[in-house]
């Protein structure tokens, strides 16, 4: 059944008609054209479709759009404030924490979430936390370095 839902995407309120069985990933990518959210497995295994749903990371390919009605959604675009990159984005660039860049929006966003909620995270904990997203180019070491370097900007 079709219905209308409201999503607040990176601070902008958007109304969209969806089917009950539609995935949040598809609504974001195909209907709202938020293409920074990627898909590489369509079944919750690769993490490329990670977004923040009301501030919490989820894999949007395994969330029904209907469940997200009225929610705030943050994607990597939402990290940019007043045209300025966030510290984690800058750290990704400086540390070479990206190669092909396909996993980068998801990783950048997720690392931003980690630092915002756990600015004291240790390297060992971080490795575990990061293990929900795949980087086939193998930039894990550089991602970890970027997070450790950006840490200071997230401490209260």
């Amino acid at each position: 059944m079709a219905r209308n839902i409201t999503l607040i995407v990176n601070g902008v309120k958007r109304e969209v008609e969806i089917e009950d069985n539609e995935l949040l990933l598809d609504v974001l990518r195909e209907k709202l054209k938020v293409k920074s959210v990627k898909a590489a497995c369509w079944r919750g295994e690769c993490g490329a479709c990670t977004i923040l749903l009301n501030g919490e990371p989820v894999k949007s390919c395994i969330v029904l759009a209907a469940e997200a009605d009225g929610s705030e959604i943050t994607t990597v675009e939402g990290l940019i404030k007043d045209g300025e990159l966030s510290p984690i984005q800058r750290a990704f660039i400086e540390n070479g924490a990206l190669q092909c860049g396909f996993c980068t929006p998801a990783f950048t966003l997720f690392c931003h979430y980690i630092l915002s909620t756990r600015p004291d995270i240790t390297e060992e904990e971080l490795r575990e936390e990061l293990s929900g997203i795949i980087c086939r180019c193998g930039t894990y070491k550089q991602i970890i370095r970027a997070v450790m370097q950006a840490k200071k900007h997230y401490k209260k």
Partner: protein
Amino acid sequence: MAHRYIGKRLPQLDSFHKVTGIATFTHDLELPGMLYAKLVTSIYPHAKVSKVDASEALKVPGVVTIATGRDFPYRLGIYVGDRDVLAMDKVNWVGHPVAAVVAETLEAAEKAVDLVEVEYEPLEPVFDPLKALEPDAPLIHPKLGEYRRAPAFTPVPGTNIANRFVLKRGNVEKGFEESNVVIEKEFKLPFVSHAYLETQSTIAQYKMDGTVEVWTSAQSPFAVRYLMALSLGIPVGNITVNVPFVGGGFGGKAGLAWEPLTALLSKKAGYRPVKLELSRKEQFTSGAVRDGVYAKVKAGAKKDGRLMALKGRLIFDAGGYGDYTVNVSRAAGYSFGEVYDLPNVYCESLAVYTNKVPTTAMRGFGHPEAVWAVERTVEMVSSELGVDPLEIRLKNVVKPGVSVTVTGEKLRKDAGNPSDCLDAVAKAINWGGPVRKPGEPWRYIGKGISVFCKGPAQPPNAASSAIIKLNEDGTVDLMVGTGNFGQGTVTSLTQIVAEELGIPVEKVKFKFIRGTDSMAYTWQTVGSRGLYTDGNAVLEALEDVKKQIKEVASQVLRVKPEDLEIRDEKVYLKGRPWESIPLSELVMGYTYPNGNSIGGPIIGRGKYISPLNTYLDPETGQGIPTIFYTYGATGCIVEVDALTGKVRVLKAVQAFDLGKAINPLMVECQIDGGFIMGMSVALFEEITFDERGWVQNPNFSAYWVAHARDIPDEMMEISIENPQSDGPYGARGIGEVVMLGVPPAIANAVYHAIGVNINNMPMHPENIWKEIKKQKPELLEELKRKLMEIRELKVER
């Protein structure tokens, strides 16, 4: 002279696009009026397609057209044209595309796919490449003799042999006679997936005027254009191929893929653009993966460790088609043991069809397979003789300027030096020194090393070119065809431009959508060739630019062009730094105060082709196969949990003689990324098939690739810089060699940890545990004892 940009750790020039999400991949692209295609694929590994009935499927609202193999009677392929666009009369594996549905929406296409009725007449399948070699094996490509093929390839019609290559130097049998010890071992490598994150994705529009435009997630736009033209009979100039950002390639997006199908579907659907994007499952079952290999290697050595002879038989399981794998197997053949100075070597390398998923190039191109077998063999020779693994390698590796390679090429003095790599790695892992004590008594720690090399596998005439355009404000457009999918080659090329022209690197611009209409030609982005070949073309184009600038400036300043130098965005008179003209006043032509003008827009062009490469002798494989060799060594310290069979790499070190690290940050990323991929393949990855030929694990839960938690605690990257005189600033390529040595280094370390030889990949817990049981049951007894002791201790307490 100190460099301003060469040797600097600059981030990838497209980093901003990537961290902000504005980098657009083919995955993200939509065109006005675009339709969606979905594949109907075979459920039999080997069968005649007797009937395809699409009548029900065509009734689904939104379906525009449905195509079958008979609609598109073309043969595709890069080295052997053994592929059909859609199965013409026969399917060769489970997943072979039989028909394609085109619809207004993806949902409609998916729905219709389920309604296409295909009737099959099953044929006897063959899954094991050794069985496929038997005289009465079912023939997978009965028309093999009719296929178009490139000159270097020799399919054997009437068999399943897609290519046979022989390398022969000296006399191996004599070498074995002269040896004090001879060993012979077997090795196996499974099919693995490139697992690039962005699945294969293509949009094509066949236009009514006969031109074709393609947007595709591919490595090599020019190869796509050329091979499409060749197989479909369209003039090259009628085709435009655009490549936006690419979410990983690793060789799997080289050559030609789904572009012909998508273009033909567009034509059939009334010239509207059509998008075909593979699901992850389709990527495992219908897209091409890395070959599996069965190898037998025999080696002979003197008491002191001097290798006297090396003999190999490599059987590449090419799967249902092997248009690219024929060259993978050939490259493995001509590079067999090439890091060593071998008086006698023989290798027969075959690519063999089976009824499994098709195969293609992957990072390393046949070398990882051969290096696995050779480096494991050398390790076993070393333990047999009691000669230290480092020593046996140092003793036998080629010496620049002295040694002759396995293909009979006398190595140049500036060829790079594997000994330097070995020494560096040995030092970094404290080779010969003690290992740390493991945390638990059932864990064992060991060190391992390997040595290897690779050069670009390319036809002798593979060319590159570069165009450098100067803009009004003195910014520069760099136009090269080489790919930009994470390796950092283009970033390094912009550093070269900035260095040579004396301008800030930010002023060198590169457009991220690479198109055959807007970029200079390069054959392909493969084989670690980009920096070297396109780099040389860029250097020539820069000379051209400088010459043109100086010509105009010399007229203005009334001096000879030789007396001028270009730096800091100005042209100076040597020795008189106060006399200069800003570049911006010259790049579009110089205008005198009275309005007279000279010069004109400056565009430089450069090219590169190797004058040295040759075809290889068809009988012996002798000749000059490649433009340079990048030597490397891998060292690692691993921990084996003998209770579970789990292997963990604690420390990873890799050293490469890359001549010059133009951008050490990019080099670091390649070395670490290569280690992680090599480790992932070594420890986890294997595409498994059931007895009906179905892939059992076409997803990332069942097919595990390395995650953040799997990486070594410590990773070290070492660049050795013995310059290659004809490389840009002395540089050699690095993109593939970074994963070659990882699996054998890990396996060698496992051997030194627990005394068990692992010769079949992957080294996942079950395999390790089985091998312990087979080769060293006493280890398990010892563990049992240890565990009892611990329990008793606990009980006492």
